[in-house]
């Protein structure tokens, strides 16, 4: 067996394939489908300080090679998560990364410090959710504000801090540079693209929240571009995501500069997508005589063929 392990911001992963926030809940539902310990890491649904009901339905709308979602961070709140959900997650034997979403800097720091507990391996700071009015993308699109959030979070926790960026900006490199300087240990690229659909039958917006986040294979070229640009500009490891469905897709991100990847919407088409990708990556390394798979990280720009 090939060693696919990698270290991201001090987090040791047995392989570079995570599951993306919001597409995998808190793992329970998929645990009946496969052994979650096969995963590199599990990123939780976005957690907020207080419970949130989320947006009114419809929350999902299919689009060509993708989907729009406007879940709106429905979650039971951090306290419930810590007392009722996290304990049971330990049996999955997989590194757990908590995705956190605040509406003020203060909320982000509170979330970070409360989640700095055994059982949580890292934090993914979601400053990129397109489906809520305050916080989320509003904070995450302005480098200065984003940096403030990150600086405060890094102070509030001893855990590795991964910052998840939105692609809905003019200059993602500026954003990445700002949050890295503010202390981010790793970056997740990308959250969903801001999109929308109109239901031609009702002549009204298709989603309850009107706009939503676009994900799935349709967005992959945008995500690969973000990884390519950012990985050359910053020194922290990057977790690439956006439309990854196969090991070929995962390799595209790795070659573009990602040190790990996350599989999201692909689960909706194939619930075993992440595990299959892990197996195929092993196969790829064997077939291509790659001893240390990490040598191909960024190979597309490092020019190492």
């Amino acid at each position: 067996m090939i060693d696919l392990s990698v270290e991201i911001a001090g987090i040791k992963l047995k392989n570079p394939v995570m599951v993306a926030s919001g597409t995998f809940g808190f793992g329970k539902e998929y645990a009946s489908l496969f052994n979650l310990s096969k995963l590199g890491a599990l990123v939780t649904k976005g957690l907020t300080l207080h419970p949130r009901p989320g947006n009114p339905p419809p929350r999902i709308w299919e689009t060509p090679a993708g989907l729009l979602n406007a879940v709106g961070l429905q979650n039971p709140g951090v306290d419930f998560f810590l007392s009722e959900i996290l304990p049971a997650m330990k049996s999955f034997e997989v590194p757990i990364i908590a995705n956190i979403a605040g509406f003020t800097i203060e909320e982000y720091t509170q979330l970070a410090s409360r989640l700095t507990v055994p059982g949580i391996t890292g934090l993914e700071v979601n400053i990129s959710c397109p489906n809520v009015k305050a916080g989320g993308m509003a904070l995450g699109a302005v480098p200065e504000l984003a940096a403030e959030v990150v600086e405060a979070v890094v102070k509030a926790t001893s855990l590795p801090v991964i910052v998840k960026l939105t692609p809905n900006v003019t200059d993602i490199v500026a954003l990445a540079t700002a949050v890295t300087q503010a202390g981010a240990h790793s970056l997740s690229l990308i959250n969903t693209l801001l999109g929308m659909a109109v239901d031609v039958n009702s002549r009204r917006p298709a989603l309850g929240n009107i706009t939503g986040g676009l994900s799935g294979p349709a967005v992959r070229p945008v995500a690969v571009r973000a990884v390519w640009q950012v990985s050359q500009a910053v020194d922290v490891p990057i977790i690439g995501m956006g439309g990854i469905c196969t090991s070929n897709d995962a390799l595209e991100f790795i070659l573009a500069g990602a040190s790990a990847v996350a599989v999201g919407s692909a689960h909706f088409r194939d619930p075993l997508a992440a595990v299959k990708i892990i197996e195929e990556l092993e196969q790829y390394c064997i077939e291509n005589g790659i001893r240390d798979w990490k040598q191909i990280i960024g190979a597309a720009w490092k020019g190492q063929n």
């Binding site: 995998f24 998929y30 299919e62 993708g66 989907l67």
Partner: protein
């Protein structure tokens, strides 16, 4: 029910168009056949590439446990179901399931009223079979706009007394299924109403259930992504508690007690 949830690759046994635009698809799916209860559904992968991307939810229509077969009844509407309609004998179809919470039934009087509007009859045939096996007396109301939408009458007749109604009067009666339901609930004292169909019909069922006090279970539809409860995509509004709470149609449903959910237009 101790079958693990799985993505099953099931060979098509047979597919027939039973009425213009409506298909009856039989598949070999022994594990689903063993595990499923009436009201549950499967998520079907449509197409071989990424467009269409999402799986389609379809109710389990019939189950032949001994033969390891299930059937689905569906209307070909959009890209996914039209693709499915193109599958033929021997083709493999990927089915995730059985999913969701089905109908519950534990009456002492064993008198049930089934309400199926249009392709909403899909989950009711499986239910009717199970109830009939438990010796329930059933009246099955089937409504649609036109005769072409009145489906599977003969099959239902094996399990109970069927009454049909159409908007254009092309079957025995003209009118809406809700008018039939009102009559039925006036005449007889039912233990339970089991309904599936368009939202407007289900809202009517909620109202009649409330007014008559006959408990009703309704099977809802909502757009789905994961189908297993992980993505929170498929919610409807719940009535319980003080604060707004959304319930997952794929997990807490698709079958709900009529009083459990608020249906918006």
């Amino acid at each position: 029910m101790e079958e693990p949830l799985k993505d099953h690759h099931c060979p098509v046994l047979d597919q027939v168009m039973i009425s213009p635009g409506y298909y009856l698809l039989s598949l070999t799916a022994p594990q689903i056949a063993r595990a499923a209860v009436p009201g549950q559904f499967v998520l079907i992968r449509c197409g071989t590439r990424y467009d269409p991307f999402l799986r389609r939810p379809l109710s389990i229509h019939q189950v032949k446990r001994e033969r390891g077969e299930i059937s689905l009844l569906y209307q070909a509407r959009g890209t996914g179901t039209r693709w499915l309609a193109g599958r033929g004998k021997g083709d493999l179809v990927s089915l995730l399931g059985p999913l969701g919470r089905g109908f519950t039934y534990s009456g002492r009087e064993k008198r049930g009223l089934l309400v199926g509007a249009g392709v909403g009859v899909a989950p009711l045939l499986f239910l009717a079979g199970e109830l009939a096996a438990l010796e329930w007396k059933l009246v099955i109301l089937i409504g649609a706009r036109t005769k072409a939408g009145i489906l599977r009458v003969e099959s239902f007749q094996r399990y109970g007394f069927v009454k049909t109604i159409t908007g254009d009067g092309s079957t025995e009666r003209q009118g809406t299924i809700l008018s039939l339901l009102e009559e039925e609930t006036k005449e007889t004292d039912w233990e339970g109403i089991y309904a599936c169909g368009p939202r407007a019909v289900l809202k009517g069922v909620q109202k009649i259930s409330r007014e008559t006090g006959v408990p009703a279970q309704i099977s809802l539809e909502e757009r789905m992504a994961c189908g297993v409860g992980a993505c929170l995509g498929c919610v409807c509004e719940g009535t319980a508690g003080e604060v707004l709470r959304y319930l997952r149609v794929c997990r807490e449903g698709p079958v709900f007690d009529a009083g459990e959910v608020i249906l918006h237009d």
